[in-house]
Every structure is written in C-alpha cells, then in structure tokens.
C-alpha cells in the first residue's frame, strides 16, 4: 500500500530548537534571580535583557522567513511592523507614567506638554488599557500589512519591485515618525517608562518575566508558523514561491495566500517589537530605518532561509557577534556584516541550518522522511 507523504508539524530540527529554547527560557532567569551574585553561575541583569532582545530579533527573523523562505516575498520592510508593534506597546507604557513625568501632567506624556498640546490626540485614546494596547500590537501592523499587501499582490507586484516598495514603506514611516506633530514623540520617541501592569520595568523580576515572555512568544510563533507551513496552505505557499503561474492555473488565488501569510507575519513582527520595547526601555523612529529591515534579512539568510528555526538561530548568533564585535572593533561591524552576507550567499545557500542538517543520525532524504504515515493509518 502507498504511504501518503505528510509533512511533520515540527520535524527533528523543530523539536531540538524548542527544547533548547525552553532550556534557555528557564535557565537564564533562574540563574539570574536565584544564583548568588558574583558566582560563576550567576547571570547578570544586563545579560537577561540582552538575550531577551536577541529573542525578539529571533521572532522578527522568524516572521521574515515565513514570507521570504516559504512564499518568496522578500520583504525589506519588516522593521516597520516591528516598530509599529513597539510603538503600540510604548504608548501603553507612556500612559502608565501618569503624573510621574517631568511636567507632572496626569494625562499628557511629557513631549505633548512640551509641545503645548492641551489634550490627548484621539489615536492615543484607549492605550492606557493593557488589553487594548495588546490588541493594537497585532492590529496595527496587521492592518498595514493587509492594506499594503492587498494593493501590491492584487497588482501582481513581485520580486525586486516588491522588495523596493516594502523598503519605501518603512522609509516613509521613518520620516513620518520623525515629525513632532505626528504625536509620537518625534526624534526622541517614547522613553522613560516606569512600569508595566503595575510592575516596575527596571526590576530584575519584571525583566526576567519579560525575558520569559519573549521566549514564550518565539516558541509559540514558531509552532504556529510550523503549523502553517506544514499544512496544505504551506505547500501552496512553496508552490507560489517556485511556480507562481502554475499555482494560478490550478485555480489558487495567489494574492489571497500571499495576503494571509504576509499579514500573519507582520503581526508576529509586531509582537516582537512590543516585547522588545519594555526591555530596551525606548522606541524611536530609527527602528523604522531601512537598514534594520535589511539586517533582518541577513540574519535570516545566515541562519538558513526556509527552515524557521534557522532564521531564529541566525538572528541570535549574528546579534551576539554584533555585541561582541562592536565592543571590540566598533567601526568594523558593518564590514563584517556585509562580508558575512557575501559569504553566506556564495558558499552557504542553506545557512547555519544547512550545516546542522548535515549532522543527521538517520540517513533519510527529505521526501521519504515525509512519507511516514501509511494510507490506512491516516484514515
């Protein structure tokens, strides 16, 4: 009897990734909070925040990989979704400051008092409520991606042209958010946060929880993304990536599929930004800068496009290297990053993930690996 090929939801790489992620998610905060400071096992506070930041970047890279690796949409604007999620969270955190600001205004954030504004703009309404802000973390990037994607995919903009307009999108937002009269703090952005859900953002315990939430978000989005790409929808995405017109002539509405995955991916990027902001303590327009989006693509390529866990790993490894090198040779980092991209493009088309999948302990090619469930068993 024939065995129908099925794609496992997680796969071996995915399971290993989740196990490692869980270990890191638990160990780092535990060693931070409970190991004696100064002992070899103790993880200092700054380290918790630093790794938490990497985890947010990893989630952003995962989001990029979902659209680029599986559907061929090379977005050079995902930083915009990240930043919008970050701003939504930042607005909540600003509202939590209350009268503790420099000007002591209970309603208005400091920068609005400084601009002589008398009342809160309409689009700031509701952000004092955490559930509302959380909703906006998903809704704002999701809505932008939906509208942008609807226009772009319906007009069948693909390839380089699509990449260029995603880049233009994030650049336009960069310029807009720089303006003081936009009401998002202009150049300085949103900062001086005091507490989140009543807990001080600077406290070790709050940081540990934020860190843990970042790991949880990464793991959860990884499972969700795997669920998507291992379904028939995911197979259609790959079909679109490889032979778009063949997919259309089979009767699939390619633009609907692209829109779906682009919007989901933008929401993941928004969540990453929302977790990033309370950990780094600031969000400003530079998060929209085109270089950020391009860097994310480099992390993804370095880690291994089309594997999801590879992209996340790539983000962590490249950013750890960045922290290390910028301490060592501040001016050299951009050259190293550029060199890295060239090396990956030329010699490591499958990135880090390609190296790891070379270490297989059961020799099984991709297809037969998928062909495990027998026709009877699946009934």
């Amino acid at each position: 009897m024939i065995q129908a090929p099925v794609t496992p939801i997680l796969g071996r790489g995915g399971v290993i990734f989740l196990v490692l992620l869980l270990a890191v998610a638990i160990l780092v905060p535990v060693l931070n909070l409970f190991a004696t400071p100064g002992s070899a096992l103790h993880v200092p506070d700054y380290m918790v925040t630093l790794i938490g930041k990497y985890l947010c970047y990893a989630l952003l890279a995962l989001a990029v990989d979902l659209v680029w690796g599986f559907c061929g949409i090379l977005s050079l604007g995902h930083g915009a979704f990240f930043a919008l999620g970050g701003y939504a969270m930042g607005m909540y955190l600003m509202r939590q400051i209350g009268s503790r600001g420099v000007y002591g205004n209970p309603e208005l954030p400091d920068f609005m008092v400084f601009l002589n504004w008398k009342e809160l703009p309409w689009y700031w309404q509701g952000f004092e409520y955490f559930p509302f802000a959380l909703l906006m973390v998903f809704l704002v990037p999701g809505a932008l991606a939906f509208v942008f994607g609807w226009l772009a995919f319906r007009s069948r903009v693909t390839g380089v042209y699509l990449s260029i307009i995603t880049q233009a999108m994030t650049f336009a937002l960069l310029l807009a958010f720089f303006r003081n009269d936009m009401g998002f703090g202009g150049n300085n952005g949103l900062t001086d946060f005091k507490d989140i859900l009543g807990f001080p953002v600077q406290a070790s315990t709050t940081r540990a929880v934020l860190y843990f939430c970042s790991a949880l978000a990464l793991g959860g989005c990884f499972i969700l993304a795997r669920r998507i790409v291992s379904s028939k929808l995911g197979l259609v995405l790959v079909s679109i990536r490889d032979a778009e017109s063949r997919t259309r002539f089979l009767g699939y509405r390619v633009e609907h599929y692209k829109l779906f995955v682009f919007t989901v991916s933008a929401m993941m990027a928004g969540l990453a930004g929302a977790l990033y902001v309370p950990q780094v303590g600031i969000i400003n327009p530079s998060e929209f800068s085109p270089e950020n989006s391009i860097e994310t693509v480099i992390w993804t390529a370095f880690g291994g496009r089309g594997t999801l866990w590879g992209a996340a790993l790539g983000a962590i490894v490249v950013n750890a290297a960045k922290s290390w090198f910028t301490g060592l040779l501040p001016d050299a980092w951009l050259f190293i990053l550029g060199g890295l991209f060239i090396v990956v493009t030329l010699f490591m088309p499958k990135g880090l993930a390609g190296i790891f999948s070379g270490w297989r302990w059961a020799p099984r090619p991709p297809v037969t690996e998928a062909a495990k469930v027998s026709t009877q068993a699946a009934e």
């Binding site: 024939i2 065995q3 129908a4 090929p5 099925v6 998507i228 379904s231 028939k232 929808l233 197979l235 259609v236 790959v238 079909s239 490889d242 032979a243 017109s245 063949r246 259309r248 002539f249 089979l250 009767g251 699939y252 509405r253 390619v254 609907h256 599929y257 779906f260 991709p366 297809v367 037969t368 998928a370 062909a371 026709t375 699946a378 009934e379």
Partner: protein, 253 residues
C-alpha cells in the same frame, strides 16, 4: 479557411470568435475563430510563432484579447482571471513542463486535486480516503506510481510532462489544453502519451497543440492548422496535409 469536414459534435464547449491579440503592434492572433465540441479532442498544428500558445493564454486568462469573444459553454472567459477560469473546469499544461519541483510527485497531485481553494480551507485540509484513492488512481494512469515519493524536480523530462497531465486530471476539468505534450519525449514515451490522451478524451474535451506529425496521426482526430494567428485549414490530418495552402506555409518557410 476551408472547412473540409463537418464537425460531428452537437454541442459547442469552447467557442472563439474574431479573437485578436497584438504585442507592440504585432498581431499574434488575427481574428481567430475556433469551435471545439463537448467531448471532442482537437489537435492544433502550425509553424512556430503561429499563435498556438497565445491562443491558450487567451483561453486561460493569462492574456486579454484586444477584440473578440471567448465562450466556455455560455460563460465569457475574457472577463475572468486565471484562477476563476481554472475553477470553471479548464486545465492547462504548459509548453515547458511546469511542476512543483520541490514537492513530491504525490504532493503535486494532492495540490491539484479538485477541492476548495481558499487559504482557510487549505489550512484545515486533511487528506481523506477518497482523495487518496483518486491520487493513487491518477499515479497509476500516468505511470508514476513507483515514483510517488520522489521530488518532482528529480523526474525525467518525459515524466514531468506526465505529472503535469496528471495534475490536470486531478482538477477534473471539462476541457484540457495541452501544449506540446511530447516535446523531448522518446518514441516509446510519445506512444504512451498518445494512448493516455486518447484515454482522457473519452470523458473530457481536449485541445492538443503538437508539432510531431506521427503523434498527431496517432491521435486520429480533427486537426486545425494555425498560421499567423488565424485558422488556415481544418479537417482530418490527411486532408490537411494535402491542402495546398498548408503545403505552401510549411514548405515556404
């Protein structure tokens, strides 16, 4: 245009009238007319550049004609996009075999299987017993049963052509448009393909574009000759081959 033989199919399934397509002033199709009956198999021949592929592009919604009507039953296809036309029941095999190279043979057929095409339905899709049987039956029909788990990209050229025909079958179309199915095939493969298409034509309408005269002879169906975007002659293969205009076009080049 010379009618050499009256079509014996009562009902028209595909009807093209005065279809004109221009690319930068060049007329790829020039007031083209075509009438394919329900259940008919039709062969289309013609020199390179005659407009055969462009005709398929027009029928399947890839190219919008400047003028003319394209009717499928009583539905005007010129207003619809590729996906809508495919879902109406028109399947198309490209001139260059196009399969999903990174998917297994099985998955290629599973994706082509007639089903709700919305993203939501795809997300929740579970392969059922009936679907599995259909896929297995098609695998058998296109001689790819032993290769079902191979990547489509690893198939030979001829096998890819068959897989693509199999994908059309999974769509359960009323009309199949098949562009140069035996290009690059060995003689044995060509023979199998002719057999397969004749077999398919027992239950569906088929339009086959082909250069290979032996293959067209083996199909033993009514032939339409295209030249410079219009129909030059129509009839059985012998009559068409003895037609002076056709001889001039083929030998004059």
């Amino acid at each position: 245009m010379i009618a050499l033989e009256k079509p014996q199919f009562a009902e028209t399934l595909l009807f093209l009238e005065d279809v004109t397509v221009t690319f930068d002033g060049f007329r790829a199709l020039n007031k083209l007319g075509l009438d394919v009956g329900r259940g008919e198999m039709r062969a289309i021949i013609g020199p390179n550049g005659a407009g055969k592929t462009t005709m398929m592009d027009v029928i399947t919604g890839k190219t919008r004609p400047d003028e003319g009507r394209v009717l499928f039953g009583d539905i005007d296809l010129t207003r619809l996009d590729e996906a809508a036309i495919a879902n109406l029941g028109i399947g198309r095999k490209f001139q260059k075999p196009t399969v999903f190279e990174n998917h297994s043979v099985w998955t290629n057929l599973e994706l082509a299987l007639k089903a709700n095409r919305s993203p939501w339905a795809s997300l929740r899709w579970v392969l059922g017993g009936e679907a599995r049987d259909k896929i297995a039956a098609t695998l058998e029909r296109i001689n790819l049963l032993p290769a079902f788990a191979s990547l489509a990209g690893d198939l030979s050229h001829g096998q890819k052509q068959w897989l693509e025909i199999g994908m059309l079958l999974m769509q359960e179309p009323e009309l199949l448009l098949v562009d140069e199915p035996v290009a690059g095939m060995t003689d044995a493969e060509t023979e199998k393909t002719a057999h397969l298409l004749r077999n398919i034509a027992e239950t569906r309408s088929v339009v086959v574009v082909e250069h290979d005269m032996e293959f067209v002879r083996a199909l033993n169906v009514r032939v339409t000759v295209l030249h410079e975007g219009s129909v030059l002659a129509e009839g059985n293969l012998d009559a068409v081959q003895n037609n002076q205009k056709v001889i001039d076009v083929y030998l004059g080049r």
